[in-house]
Protein backbone atom coordinates (compact mmCIF):
# COMPACT_ATOMS: atom_id res chain seq x y z
CA UNK A 1 0.00 0.00 0.00
CA UNK A 2 0.96 3.55 -0.62
CA UNK A 3 2.57 5.48 2.23
CA UNK A 4 -0.06 8.20 1.95
CA UNK A 5 -2.76 5.69 2.83
CA UNK A 6 -1.02 4.74 6.07
CA UNK A 7 -0.79 8.40 6.93
CA UNK A 8 -4.47 8.95 6.18
CA UNK A 9 -5.53 5.90 8.19
CA UNK A 10 -3.52 7.15 11.18
CA UNK A 11 -5.00 10.63 10.76
CA UNK A 12 -8.62 9.52 10.70
CA UNK A 13 -8.07 7.04 13.53
CA UNK A 14 -6.53 9.80 15.63
CA UNK A 15 -9.53 11.99 14.95
CA UNK A 16 -11.79 9.09 15.91
CA UNK A 17 -9.91 8.40 19.13
CA UNK A 18 -10.09 12.11 19.93
CA UNK A 19 -13.84 11.99 19.49
CA UNK A 20 -14.03 9.24 22.11
CA UNK A 21 -13.02 11.72 24.78
CA UNK A 22 -15.54 14.40 23.93
CA UNK A 23 -17.94 15.00 26.76
CA UNK A 24 -21.48 13.96 26.10
CA UNK A 25 -23.54 17.09 25.66
CA UNK A 26 -27.08 17.18 26.75
CA UNK A 27 -29.32 18.49 24.06
CA UNK A 28 -31.96 20.24 26.08
CA UNK A 29 -33.24 23.15 24.12
CA UNK A 30 -32.19 26.58 25.22
CA UNK A 31 -33.61 30.00 24.52
CA UNK A 32 -31.34 32.62 23.01
CA UNK A 33 -29.27 34.76 25.42
CA UNK A 34 -31.06 37.89 24.20
CA UNK A 35 -34.47 36.49 25.04
CA UNK A 36 -33.28 35.25 28.41
CA UNK A 37 -31.88 38.69 29.20
CA UNK A 38 -35.17 40.27 28.21
CA UNK A 39 -37.09 37.88 30.41
CA UNK A 40 -34.72 38.43 33.34
CA UNK A 41 -35.33 42.16 33.18
CA UNK A 42 -39.04 41.65 33.26
CA UNK A 43 -40.29 41.72 36.86
CA UNK A 44 -43.58 40.02 36.04
CA UNK A 45 -42.10 36.71 37.21
CA UNK A 46 -42.41 37.86 40.83
CA UNK A 47 -45.52 37.02 42.78
CA UNK A 48 -46.17 38.30 46.27
CA UNK A 49 -46.60 36.16 49.33
CA UNK A 50 -50.21 37.34 49.51
CA UNK A 51 -50.91 36.01 46.03
CA UNK A 52 -49.31 32.70 46.92
CA UNK A 53 -51.29 32.49 50.15
CA UNK A 54 -54.49 33.14 48.30
CA UNK A 55 -53.73 30.45 45.73
CA UNK A 56 -52.98 27.95 48.48
CA UNK A 57 -56.13 28.79 50.39
CA UNK A 58 -58.22 28.53 47.26
CA UNK A 59 -56.40 25.19 46.56
CA UNK A 60 -55.79 26.30 42.99
CA UNK A 61 -55.27 23.08 40.99
CA UNK A 62 -52.77 24.77 38.67
CA UNK A 63 -50.48 25.81 41.51
CA UNK A 64 -47.19 23.96 41.83
CA UNK A 65 -44.90 25.18 44.62
CA UNK A 66 -41.22 24.29 44.48
CA UNK A 67 -39.03 24.66 47.54
CA UNK A 68 -35.50 25.30 46.30
CA UNK A 69 -33.80 25.08 49.70
CA UNK A 70 -31.85 22.09 50.99
CA UNK A 71 -33.81 19.01 51.98
CA UNK A 72 -32.98 19.59 55.71
CA UNK A 73 -34.61 22.99 55.62
CA UNK A 74 -37.46 21.59 53.60
CA UNK A 75 -37.95 18.91 56.24
CA UNK A 76 -38.20 21.41 59.10
CA UNK A 77 -40.59 23.84 57.45
CA UNK A 78 -42.07 24.48 54.04
CA UNK A 79 -45.23 25.72 52.44
CA UNK A 80 -48.12 23.24 52.29
CA UNK A 81 -48.05 21.08 49.16
CA UNK A 82 -44.58 22.23 48.12
CA UNK A 83 -42.16 19.91 46.42
CA UNK A 84 -38.45 20.02 47.26
CA UNK A 85 -35.96 20.53 44.41
CA UNK A 86 -32.71 21.85 45.93
CA UNK A 87 -30.60 23.96 43.57
CA UNK A 88 -27.68 21.52 43.84
CA UNK A 89 -29.82 18.65 42.63
CA UNK A 90 -31.54 20.63 39.90
CA UNK A 91 -28.38 21.12 37.86
CA UNK A 92 -25.39 18.92 37.14
CA UNK A 93 -21.78 19.98 37.63
CA UNK A 94 -21.73 22.19 34.54
CA UNK A 95 -24.97 24.00 35.23
CA UNK A 96 -27.22 22.03 32.88
CA UNK A 97 -30.60 21.14 34.27
CA UNK A 98 -31.08 17.42 34.99
CA UNK A 99 -33.59 16.00 32.50
CA UNK A 100 -35.62 14.22 35.20
CA UNK A 101 -36.82 17.54 36.60
CA UNK A 102 -38.02 18.76 33.23
CA UNK A 103 -40.90 16.29 33.43
CA UNK A 104 -42.00 17.83 36.72
CA UNK A 105 -41.59 21.42 35.66
CA UNK A 106 -42.86 21.23 32.11
CA UNK A 107 -46.54 20.51 32.68
CA UNK A 108 -48.94 22.33 30.43
CA UNK A 109 -51.05 24.91 32.27
CA UNK A 110 -49.31 24.65 35.64
CA UNK A 111 -48.09 27.74 37.46
CA UNK A 112 -44.73 26.81 38.93
CA UNK A 113 -43.72 29.07 41.84
CA UNK A 114 -40.21 28.84 43.25
CA UNK A 115 -39.34 29.99 46.72
CA UNK A 116 -36.37 29.86 49.07
CA UNK A 117 -35.55 31.69 52.30
CA UNK A 118 -35.14 34.94 50.45
CA UNK A 119 -35.76 35.08 46.73
CA UNK A 120 -32.12 34.87 45.61
CA UNK A 121 -31.82 31.09 45.16
CA UNK A 122 -35.35 30.80 43.85
CA UNK A 123 -34.51 33.42 41.26
CA UNK A 124 -31.40 31.51 40.23
CA UNK A 125 -33.53 28.43 39.72
CA UNK A 126 -35.96 30.53 37.74
CA UNK A 127 -33.16 31.72 35.42
CA UNK A 128 -31.86 28.17 34.90
CA UNK A 129 -35.31 26.82 34.11
CA UNK A 130 -36.30 29.72 31.89
CA UNK A 131 -33.10 29.26 29.95
CA UNK A 132 -34.23 25.72 29.20
CA UNK A 133 -37.42 26.90 27.54
CA UNK A 134 -39.71 26.19 30.48
CA UNK A 135 -42.70 28.42 30.78
CA UNK A 136 -45.13 29.66 33.44
CA UNK A 137 -42.44 29.97 36.08
CA UNK A 138 -42.70 32.45 38.95
CA UNK A 139 -40.68 33.45 41.96
CA UNK A 140 -42.20 34.25 45.33
CA UNK A 141 -40.95 37.73 46.13
CA UNK A 142 -38.99 37.84 49.35
CA UNK A 143 -39.20 34.11 49.90
CA UNK A 144 -40.07 32.55 53.23
CA UNK A 145 -38.71 35.53 55.16
CA UNK A 146 -41.34 37.74 53.67
CA UNK A 147 -43.82 34.93 54.06
CA UNK A 148 -43.11 34.90 57.79
CA UNK A 149 -43.36 38.67 58.08
CA UNK A 150 -46.48 39.12 56.05
CA UNK A 151 -48.55 35.98 56.40
CA UNK A 152 -47.44 34.40 59.65
CA UNK A 153 -46.82 37.58 61.66
CA UNK A 154 -48.73 40.35 59.92
CA UNK A 155 -48.06 43.84 61.25
CA UNK A 156 -51.03 45.94 62.02
CA UNK A 157 -50.94 49.01 59.77
CA UNK A 158 -50.80 52.45 61.39
CA UNK A 159 -54.01 54.29 61.98
CA UNK A 160 -53.41 56.68 59.10
CA UNK A 161 -52.95 53.94 56.49
CA UNK A 162 -55.36 53.77 53.58
CA UNK A 163 -58.20 51.27 53.62
CA UNK A 164 -56.39 48.88 51.31
CA UNK A 165 -53.75 48.36 53.97
CA UNK A 166 -56.38 47.29 56.44
CA UNK A 167 -58.06 45.02 53.90
CA UNK A 168 -54.69 43.43 53.28
CA UNK A 169 -54.09 43.11 57.01
CA UNK A 170 -57.41 41.37 57.42
CA UNK A 171 -56.61 38.98 54.64
CA UNK A 172 -53.25 38.22 56.19
CA UNK A 173 -54.73 37.57 59.59
CA UNK A 174 -57.17 35.20 57.97
CA UNK A 175 -54.38 33.53 56.08
CA UNK A 176 -52.34 33.27 59.27
CA UNK A 177 -55.26 31.51 60.93
CA UNK A 178 -55.41 29.16 57.97
CA UNK A 179 -51.73 28.31 57.95
CA UNK A 180 -50.72 28.19 61.59
CA UNK A 181 -54.04 27.89 63.32
CA UNK A 182 -53.01 30.94 65.33
CA UNK A 183 -50.76 28.94 67.66
CA UNK A 184 -47.38 28.03 66.15
CA UNK A 185 -45.03 30.78 65.17
CA UNK A 186 -42.17 30.31 62.78
CA UNK A 187 -38.65 29.93 64.13
CA UNK A 188 -36.64 33.07 63.80
CA UNK A 189 -33.55 31.35 62.33
CA UNK A 190 -35.38 30.88 59.05
CA UNK A 191 -35.53 34.63 58.78
CA UNK A 192 -31.98 35.29 57.63
CA UNK A 193 -31.10 37.84 55.01
CA UNK A 194 -33.51 40.72 54.90
CA UNK A 195 -35.05 41.64 51.61
CA UNK A 196 -36.75 45.00 51.14
CA UNK A 197 -40.42 44.31 51.43
CA UNK A 198 -42.55 45.12 48.46
CA UNK A 199 -46.16 45.85 49.23
CA UNK A 200 -48.39 45.27 46.35
CA UNK A 201 -52.09 45.56 46.24
CA UNK A 202 -53.76 42.28 46.64
CA UNK A 203 -54.73 40.95 43.29
CA UNK A 204 -57.11 38.16 42.61
CA UNK A 205 -54.96 36.23 40.13
CA UNK A 206 -51.25 35.73 39.85
CA UNK A 207 -49.80 38.02 37.21
CA UNK A 208 -49.48 36.30 33.85
CA UNK A 209 -51.27 33.18 34.82
CA UNK A 210 -52.48 30.76 32.26
Amino acid sequence: MNKTYYFLIILILTLGIGALFFPEKSYIKEISPELLFYKMNNPSRFVTTDQVAKLIIESDPTLFLIDTRSSDQYGSFSLPGAMNIPLDELVDSIGIICPKWIDYLDIEGMKVIFFSNSDVIADQVWVICTRHELDNLYVMRGGLNTWAETILMPQKPSEYSPDEEFALYDFRRGACQYFVGGSISIKSDVVADQVPRVRRKKKTVVAGGC
Partner: protein
Protein backbone atom coordinates in the same frame (compact mmCIF):
# COMPACT_ATOMS: atom_id res chain seq x y z
CA UNK B 1 -3.82 -1.24 -5.67
CA UNK B 2 -1.75 -0.65 -8.80
CA UNK B 3 -4.37 -2.44 -10.85
CA UNK B 4 -7.11 -0.17 -9.61
CA UNK B 5 -5.11 2.95 -10.36
CA UNK B 6 -4.54 1.85 -13.93
CA UNK B 7 -8.20 1.15 -14.42
CA UNK B 8 -9.40 4.42 -13.06
CA UNK B 9 -6.66 6.79 -14.07
CA UNK B 10 -9.13 9.08 -15.76
CA UNK B 11 -11.13 9.42 -12.53
CA UNK B 12 -9.98 11.02 -9.33
CA UNK B 13 -8.77 8.84 -6.48
CA UNK B 14 -11.84 7.32 -4.80
CA UNK B 15 -10.64 8.32 -1.34
CA UNK B 16 -10.10 11.89 -2.48
CA UNK B 17 -13.58 11.82 -4.01
CA UNK B 18 -14.92 10.48 -0.75
CA UNK B 19 -13.26 13.18 1.33
CA UNK B 20 -14.55 15.89 -1.00
CA UNK B 21 -18.02 14.39 -0.98
CA UNK B 22 -17.93 14.15 2.81
CA UNK B 23 -16.89 17.80 3.06
CA UNK B 24 -19.74 18.75 0.72
CA UNK B 25 -22.18 16.90 2.97
CA UNK B 26 -20.67 18.58 6.03
CA UNK B 27 -20.93 22.00 4.37
CA UNK B 28 -24.54 21.32 3.38
CA UNK B 29 -25.47 20.37 6.92
CA UNK B 30 -23.52 23.33 8.30
CA UNK B 31 -25.22 25.83 6.04
CA UNK B 32 -28.74 24.46 5.73
CA UNK B 33 -29.14 21.98 8.59
CA UNK B 34 -30.35 19.38 6.15
CA UNK B 35 -28.82 17.02 3.66
CA UNK B 36 -28.29 16.51 -0.02
CA UNK B 37 -30.85 14.50 -1.93
CA UNK B 38 -31.79 13.35 -5.37
CA UNK B 39 -35.19 11.68 -5.44
CA UNK B 40 -36.86 14.63 -3.75
CA UNK B 41 -36.72 16.63 -6.97
CA UNK B 42 -38.26 13.78 -8.97
CA UNK B 43 -41.03 13.54 -6.41
CA UNK B 44 -41.63 17.30 -6.59
CA UNK B 45 -41.86 17.09 -10.36
CA UNK B 46 -44.40 14.25 -10.17
CA UNK B 47 -46.43 16.12 -7.57
CA UNK B 48 -46.36 19.29 -9.68
CA UNK B 49 -47.34 17.41 -12.83
CA UNK B 50 -50.23 15.57 -11.18
CA UNK B 51 -51.36 18.79 -9.56
CA UNK B 52 -51.35 20.43 -12.97
CA UNK B 53 -53.30 17.67 -14.69
CA UNK B 54 -55.75 16.71 -11.94
CA UNK B 55 -55.73 19.31 -9.14
CA UNK B 56 -58.73 17.95 -7.23
CA UNK B 57 -57.37 14.41 -7.27
CA UNK B 58 -53.97 15.63 -6.08
CA UNK B 59 -55.46 17.64 -3.24
CA UNK B 60 -57.53 14.76 -1.95
CA UNK B 61 -55.04 11.96 -2.45
CA UNK B 62 -53.21 11.08 0.73
CA UNK B 63 -49.68 11.15 -0.69
CA UNK B 64 -49.75 14.06 -3.12
CA UNK B 65 -51.55 16.30 -0.67
CA UNK B 66 -48.65 15.88 1.78
CA UNK B 67 -46.41 17.85 -0.56
CA UNK B 68 -48.88 20.43 -1.78
CA UNK B 69 -49.01 23.76 -0.07
CA UNK B 70 -50.78 26.99 -0.74
CA UNK B 71 -47.64 28.97 0.00
CA UNK B 72 -45.51 27.86 -2.89
CA UNK B 73 -45.41 25.76 -5.98
CA UNK B 74 -44.16 22.17 -5.47
CA UNK B 75 -41.24 22.85 -7.80
CA UNK B 76 -40.16 25.78 -5.64
CA UNK B 77 -38.17 23.42 -3.51
CA UNK B 78 -34.63 23.27 -2.18
CA UNK B 79 -33.99 19.83 -3.65
CA UNK B 80 -35.16 20.83 -7.12
CA UNK B 81 -32.51 23.54 -7.31
CA UNK B 82 -29.92 21.23 -5.84
CA UNK B 83 -30.73 18.61 -8.47
CA UNK B 84 -30.34 21.14 -11.27
CA UNK B 85 -26.94 21.75 -9.71
CA UNK B 86 -26.12 18.02 -9.88
CA UNK B 87 -26.70 18.05 -13.64
CA UNK B 88 -24.60 21.17 -14.10
CA UNK B 89 -21.78 19.87 -11.91
CA UNK B 90 -21.69 16.46 -13.55
CA UNK B 91 -21.71 18.05 -16.97
CA UNK B 92 -18.81 20.31 -16.01
CA UNK B 93 -16.80 17.43 -14.66
CA UNK B 94 -17.52 15.31 -17.73
CA UNK B 95 -16.63 18.20 -20.01
CA UNK B 96 -13.30 18.79 -18.31
CA UNK B 97 -12.40 15.09 -18.38
CA UNK B 98 -13.67 14.65 -21.93
CA UNK B 99 -16.41 12.21 -21.00
CA UNK B 100 -19.33 14.16 -22.46
CA UNK B 101 -20.22 12.44 -25.72
CA UNK B 102 -23.37 11.86 -27.65
CA UNK B 103 -25.87 9.40 -26.18
CA UNK B 104 -24.54 5.89 -25.83
CA UNK B 105 -25.39 2.80 -23.85
CA UNK B 106 -22.98 1.23 -21.45
CA UNK B 107 -23.52 -2.49 -21.04
CA UNK B 108 -21.78 -5.76 -20.41
CA UNK B 109 -20.67 -7.49 -23.65
CA UNK B 110 -22.81 -10.46 -22.67
CA UNK B 111 -26.12 -8.61 -22.96
CA UNK B 112 -27.74 -6.62 -25.75
CA UNK B 113 -28.27 -2.86 -25.43
CA UNK B 114 -31.98 -3.55 -25.37
CA UNK B 115 -31.72 -5.81 -22.32
CA UNK B 116 -29.64 -3.17 -20.62
CA UNK B 117 -32.26 -0.50 -21.24
CA UNK B 118 -35.09 -2.73 -20.01
CA UNK B 119 -33.27 -3.53 -16.81
CA UNK B 120 -32.17 0.08 -16.35
CA UNK B 121 -35.82 1.16 -16.54
CA UNK B 122 -36.93 -1.61 -14.18
CA UNK B 123 -34.14 -0.69 -11.80
CA UNK B 124 -35.31 2.90 -11.91
CA UNK B 125 -38.88 1.87 -11.15
CA UNK B 126 -37.80 -0.21 -8.17
CA UNK B 127 -35.48 2.51 -6.92
CA UNK B 128 -38.28 5.04 -7.27
CA UNK B 129 -40.68 2.95 -5.22
CA UNK B 130 -38.05 2.02 -2.64
CA UNK B 131 -36.88 5.59 -2.20
CA UNK B 132 -40.38 6.64 -1.14
CA UNK B 133 -40.57 3.89 1.45
CA UNK B 134 -37.08 4.75 2.66
CA UNK B 135 -37.95 8.48 2.73
CA UNK B 136 -34.83 9.14 0.70
CA UNK B 137 -32.43 7.39 -1.61
CA UNK B 138 -28.75 6.56 -1.34
CA UNK B 139 -27.85 10.23 -1.04
CA UNK B 140 -30.69 11.53 1.11
CA UNK B 141 -31.19 8.58 3.44
CA UNK B 142 -28.05 6.46 3.39
CA UNK B 143 -25.33 9.12 2.96
CA UNK B 144 -26.77 12.05 4.88
CA UNK B 145 -28.81 9.95 7.26
CA UNK B 146 -25.79 7.97 8.39
CA UNK B 147 -23.59 11.05 8.55
CA UNK B 148 -26.09 12.75 10.85
CA UNK B 149 -26.31 9.47 12.79
CA UNK B 150 -30.01 8.97 12.16
CA UNK B 151 -30.99 5.37 12.82
CA UNK B 152 -33.10 5.41 9.66
CA UNK B 153 -30.05 6.40 7.62
CA UNK B 154 -27.92 3.59 8.99
CA UNK B 155 -30.72 1.09 8.37
CA UNK B 156 -31.24 2.38 4.83
CA UNK B 157 -27.53 2.00 4.08
CA UNK B 158 -27.39 -1.53 5.51
CA UNK B 159 -30.50 -2.68 3.68
CA UNK B 160 -29.71 -1.08 0.31
CA UNK B 161 -26.27 -2.64 0.11
CA UNK B 162 -27.33 -5.83 1.90
CA UNK B 163 -30.17 -6.44 -0.52
CA UNK B 164 -27.87 -5.54 -3.42
CA UNK B 165 -25.51 -8.32 -2.38
CA UNK B 166 -28.44 -10.66 -1.80
CA UNK B 167 -29.81 -10.20 -5.31
CA UNK B 168 -26.41 -9.81 -6.99
CA UNK B 169 -26.19 -13.52 -7.77
CA UNK B 170 -29.44 -13.53 -9.77
CA UNK B 171 -28.44 -10.61 -11.94
CA UNK B 172 -24.77 -11.49 -12.43
CA UNK B 173 -25.28 -12.01 -16.19
CA UNK B 174 -26.13 -8.31 -16.51
CA UNK B 175 -22.75 -7.20 -15.27
CA UNK B 176 -20.03 -9.85 -15.52
Amino acid sequence: MKNLEERSEQYINPYLGGVLLGLTVLLTVYITGRGLGATGAVKSTIVAAVDQVAPTYAENQAYYSKFLSDDHHPMNNWLVFETIGIFVGAFLSGLIAGRVKKFRIEHSPKITPKTRLIFATLGGVFFGIGSQFGRGCTSGAALNGTATMATAGLLAMIFIFGSGYLFAYFFRKLWI
